[in-house]
């Protein structure tokens, strides 16, 4: 201010004229007011404008906090930066007269320069010689006069305070309008403007309910995003648009449920969906992902308790579970997802499928294509019966049951599903933590099987086997079951082939114990009738097996029949075999004789004709015939050897017979191994094309010569066999007579069994018609038995006649005569009538009498040996020589071996009985009948 220089200038400086000073002061005041107003108005304008800017932007998009912050800073910066600067420039920068003069000089340059000169003159400090105060004053006056008429306000630089005022008025009006007319968005914008970094949501007229800003959709599959209008929404636009990335926008109409559903095509890459509904602008992040799939499925099978089996886990590589599952089991499934996808939830749907019906391939309606329940959809002919022939027509299938799965990370497991007898379809469905579902689930067909009956069979023995009481037979029992066999054993049931007062044998024996996991059991049985006190009879032996199925009981094999014979019964059997062998031997001899005749004819053809084609053919045929006969002879000698072994075992065939049989067998072996092959060889050589006719003739002659010896040897063998057979037959007469005696004894004993201890009989004297049916049946059987015995005795008598005619042995004649004199035929028949008429005591007496007589006749042929007599009582001239002693020794040795073998086999059977003791009669095994008679 110039005022601070005033005291000094009063002496040296000349002041400005008053008019000019006032003018300048007025100009300065005006300048200051205008520019301060401009600064304030600009600041106010900036604030309102920035608010309006946020308000406006929020209407078109969700203004980001950073933008809002920038707007707010920009708006306030007019106040904080521009206003101070403006005031400093125009107020502090234009305080002095010189500054003002310069400002005026911009508008009025000449005047301004003069004013500036006057201002400078007033501070001039020169010497008195050079200073002219008058001139200075005059100059000031002159400038003052010039300035007096001038309006300095025109020199104000761009006064805009009015413009700013208008701007402020406009923005204030608009802000007021926003706040009062649409207060919600106005206040929301105010809040978002004032606090740009706060989480104040943008106000929209269209409000959308909460939705996920990040969704995961199945890769390459169409998907939909649904937005629902909020109940607070002020607007309900009829449609909206959404756009995935830069793809074409998708439109959606407002649905009745106040929602918009935008359908998008399948995507393989992640992206963003921009949604415009009214003024609502949203963005959703979309991440395509493959659907969760299963890496592995396991089935845990819990077997029914009765099977006593451990649970089993099976990896299911195919969609079928069969074979290991039995009705009554429980199956639970356990699955793991691929790529470690975490699971959220899962379900198991159980559907009962129709049971397939086993079909005969030869049924008319069978169609293999329709197996597994498939129906022939293409057939419109209305033939409904053919459409599903493999299905049972049952009630409609039960509705599927759905079970929730237990989830643990990437693993899901189902509860145990009980299995009935129908197949099931188990369907697994799951959803991962991204809410993606499986593709169609995973289906498993479960085909439970019935617990099949076990199987038992016997092997290592003929179906019909003949043994003696002393024999031991061995055979193997095998059993199989699908889920483990409990034990195996065998049962036998006896049946007498003729009436007797004894009870047939019956019993059972458990051989081996199995276990729940033992599907196959086997064991060897050593069965000795004598060890089990089983008398000669017919036994049906069956193997049995039991499994763990409740109340199934024993399952039996096909029976084998053991014919347990007495020694005389076996002797008769051997006799029959011997008869057959002799018959076949005679046939072989006849064939050999025929061949011999033909060879002789060839011999007579002469050497010159022997090598022609026809004779060569005959020779060839003769050679073949001889080969056939050799084969037959070899077979007969084998059978003879076998027979000899059995006769030896029987022990009741006398040594002379054995000797003859052995001799016959020896001859037969020599024939088949040495003599007859020589004939065949000669016949073969006779056909040799390299031989001369003379040589061939010689070969044929040698063949004839050799064959003659063969025939002679065969004849001797037949004679020896017949002699042995006669001896055999003779000894068989003994057996037959003794058997008849035994039959009579049996009949008598059966009748005696009807008499009680006090001599009373339940049937004697009672007319047949009044008898109990059981007694009637017994009498009928006894009568039949008596008839058979009488018939046997009659045949014995007849055979004795023929035998005597051939052998002329006195003892046979004696028996024959005694039989004729005793009139045994008619008496035995009378006994039969007595039995039929229920004359019990008379029948017993008669049967006993004839039993004794028959036995006495047998003793004529085979006198009982006196133990005191050491030597052979025959006294004949056939003193055994040294070789006979050898033969006797060998026979004795063989009998010793045979007997010792029998003892050993029975020892083994007893040992088996002892070792398997604990298996018998166990409380939970309960054999049907363990009585052993």
């Amino acid at each position: 201010m110039p005022t601070d220089q005033t005291p000094k200038s009063k002496e040296q400086h000349a002041p400005l004229p008053d008019s000019l000073r006032r003018q300048l002061i007025s100009f300065r005041g005006r300048l200051w007011r205008v520019k301060v107003a401009e600064a304030i108005l600009a600041g106010v304008f900036g604030l309102f404008f920035s608010y309006l800017l946020v308000f406006g932007l929020d209407r078109v998009w969700n203004t980001p906090p950073a933008v809002r912050l920038a707007i707010l800073i920009s708006g306030t910066s007019l106040f904080t930066l521009f206003a101070p600067y403006w005031i400093h420039r125009w107020v502090f920068g234009h305080r002095r007269e010189a500054q003002l003069a310069r400002l005026i000089a911009r508008r009025f340059p000449r005047l301004g320069d003069r004013l500036l000169g006057v201002v400078e003159l007033q501070h001039q400090q020169e010497s008195n010689e050079s200073l002219s105060p008058e001139l200075r004053a005059a100059a000031m006056e002159a400038v003052a006069r010039q300035a007096k008429g001038r309006n300095f306000e025109r020199a104000l630089p761009n006064p805009r305070h009015r413009t700013w005022s208008l701007g402020v008025l406009a923005t204030v009006a608009m802000a007021a309008a926003a706040l009062f007319l649409v207060p919600k968005p106005g206040l929301n914008a105010l809040k978002r403007w004032l606090m740009p970094l706060s989480n104040t949501p943008r106000y929209t007229f269209t409000k959308i309910s909460h939705f996920n800003e990040r969704i995961i959709v199945p890769r390459d599959e169409p998907f939909a995003i649904t937005f629902t209008l909020s109940s607070e929404s002020d607007q309900r636009p009829g449609s909206g648009t959404a756009r995935f990335g830069i793809q074409d926008p998708v439109a959606a109409q407002l649905q009745n449920d106040q929602s918009y559903s935008f359908e998008f095509p399948g995507q393989s890459e992640p992206g963003r969906v921009a949604v415009n509904i009214g003024d609502a602008r949203h963005s959703v992040e979309v991440i395509p992902q493959t659907r969760p799939t299963i890496q592995s499925v396991q089935a845990r099978i819990s077997y029914p308790e009765y099977l006593q089996l451990q649970d089993k886990v099976r990896e299911l590589r195919v969609g079928t579970l069969s074979g290991d599952v039995v009705v009554g089991s429980k199956v639970s499934l356990e699955a793991t997802t691929l790529e470690e996808r975490e699971l959220k939830s899962g379900t198991l749907t159980v559907r009962v499928l129709p049971k397939p019906v086993p079909q005969d391939l030869f049924d008319d309606g069978f169609d293999p294509l329709l197996e597994d329940g498939e129906t022939d959809e293409g057939d419109d002919s209305g033939n409904d019966l053919r459409e599903a022939p493999a299905l049972v027509e049952e009630d409609p299938p039960a509705p599927p049951e759905v079970f929730a799965l237990e989830i643990s990370g990437t693993r899901m497991s189902s509860p145990g599903i009980p299995l009935g007898d129908s197949p099931l379809e188990l369907q697994l469905n799951w959803r991962d933590t991204d809410d993606l579902e499986d593709v169609g689930g995973h289906r498993i067909r479960v085909e439970p099987l019935e617990d099949q009956k076990p199987l038992a069979y016997i092997q290592g023995i003929e179906r019909q086997t003949v043994i003696l009481v002393d024999d031991t037979v061995s055979f193997e029992i095998l059993a199989e079951d699908d889920y483990g066999a409990r034990h195996i054993g065998y049962e036998w049931t006896g049946e007498f082939t003729k009436p007797t007062d004894e009870t047939p044998s019956q019993g059972s024996h458990i051989l081996e114990v199995g276990g729940p996991n033992q599907r196959r059991i086997s064991g060897v049985v050593h069965f000795s009738p004598k060890t089990r006190n089983i008398k000669p009879q017919q036994l049906a032996v069956r193997a049995f097996v039991e499994d763990y199925f409740p109340e199934r009981g024993r399952v039996y094999s096909e029976p084998i029949i053991l014919h347990i014979l007495t020694k005389d019964e076996q002797a008769q059997l051997l006799k029959d075999k011997f008869d057959r062998i002799i018959g076949e031997l005679e046939d072989a001899a006849r064939r050999e004789q025929n061949d011999f005749d033909e060879n002789r004819r060839l011999e007579q053809e002469g050497a010159e004709n022997l090598q022609n084609d026809a004779n060569q053919e005959r020779l060839k045929q003769q050679e073949l015939n001889e080969a056939e006969n050799i084969e037959k002879m070899a077979e007969l000698s084998e059978r003879m050897e076998e027979l000899l072994g059995e006769a030896l075992k029987n022990g009741e065939v006398d040594s002379d017979t054995m000797q003859k049989m052995a001799e016959t067998m020896q001859q037969m072996q020599e024939l088949s191994q040495q003599d007859m092959p020589k004939v065949e060889q000669e016949l073969n050589e006779a056909q040799d094309p390299s031989s001369t006719p003379e040589q061939s003739q010689k070969d044929v002659e040698e063949a004839v010569e050799q064959q003659e010896k063969v025939i002679e040897k065969m004849r001797k063998a037949i004679e020896g066999a017949n002699e042995a057979n006669r001896n055999f037959e003779a000894s068989t007469f003994v057996n037959r007579l003794r058997r008849a005696a035994s039959e009579e004894d049996g009949i008598a004993n059966t009748l005696i069994a009807t008499i009680d201890d006090e001599g009373e009989t339940t049937i004697a004297g009672t007319p047949y018609d009044e008898l109990d049916p059981v007694d009637q049946r017994i009498l009928g059987e006894l009568s039949m038995q008596q008839r058979r015995t009488a018939s046997d005795v009659h045949w014995i008598y007849e055979d004795l006649g023929h035998f005597y005619a051939r052998t002329q042995k006195e003892e046979h004649k004696q028996i024959m005569e005694e039989m004729r004199e005793s009139n045994v035929d008619s008496h035995l028949d009378e006994t039969r009538e007595k039995i039929a008429a229920n004359r019990t005591f008379m029948a017993i007496t008669a049967a006993k009498k004839w039993a004794a007589l028959l036995r006495a006749w047998a003793d004529i042929l085979d006198p009982p040996q006196d133990p005191n007599e050491g030597g052979d009582g025959s006294g004949g001239g056939d003193d055994p020589g040294l070789d006979d002693n050898d033969f006797e020794f060998m026979l004795k040795v063989m009998k010793l071996i045979q007997t010792e073998q029998d003892i050993r086999a029975r020892t083994r059977a007893l040992e088996q009985l002892r070792r398997t003791l604990h298996l018998q009669d166990l409380p939970d095994l309960k054999p049907l009948d363990t009585d052993e008679q």
């Binding site: 004598k530 060890t531 089990r532 006190n533 050897e641 000899l644 072994g645 030896l648 000797q659 052995a662 001799e663 067998m665 020896q666 020589g881 040294l882 070789d883 006979d884 002693n885 050898d886 033969f887 020794f889 060998m890 026979l891 004795k892 040795v893 063989m894 009998k895 010793l896 071996i897 045979q898 007997t899 010792e900 073998q901 003892i903 050993r904 029975r906 020892t907 083994r908 007893l910 040992e911 009985l913 002892r914 070792r915 003791l917 604990h918 018998q920 009669d921 166990l922 363990t930 052993e932």
Partner: protein, 140 residues
């Protein structure tokens, strides 16, 4: 002519009886120097009436067999008396001794593997005696 029967019956004995005897021997005969100990058989104790009956049956059966073995032993004794060859006699005497052992075992009653093995040895010895006799016959 007669020695031929010996030739016939000897192979018959070998063919029909001995193979089965030897086959059984394979199962039951004890090894001369067993490399391993034979398992000890523990016989179950009878509990039920039926099992007690079975034990009785076993004892009776075994004692009956002892009787039969005794009879066979008498036959061997008779056979010894008929023999002149010392080796045959010695073999048959061994048979008799083993038979006595078997009789004792069966009478106990013991039907175990040891008894069966002894029975097998009897068969073997008898067969050996038969061969010895055949050799003697061939040599004279």
């Amino acid at each position: 002519m007669k020695p031929i029967y010996l030739a016939i019956l000897a192979p018959l004995a070998i063919g029909n009886l001995i193979p089965s005897a030897l086959a059984q021997e394979d199962e039951e005969a004890p090894k001369p120097t067993p490399a391993i100990e034979l398992p000890e058989i523990k016989y179950p104790d009878p509990v039920t009436e039926e099992q007690k009956k079975s034990v009785t049956k076993h004892r009776e059966g075994s004692q009956n067999l002892a009787g039969e073995q005794d009879e066979l032993s008498a036959d061997v004794q008779d056979l010894i008396e008929e023999q002149t060859n010392e080796k045959v006699i010695a073999l048959l005497e061994e048979v008799e001794e083993i038979m006595a052992e078997v009789i004792g075992s069966l009478d106990e009653p013991n039907t175990s593997g040891t008894t069966i093995a002894a029975e097998t040895e009897i068969i073997e010895k008898i067969f050996e005696a038969a061969k010895q006799r055949a050799q003697q016959n061939g040599g004279t």
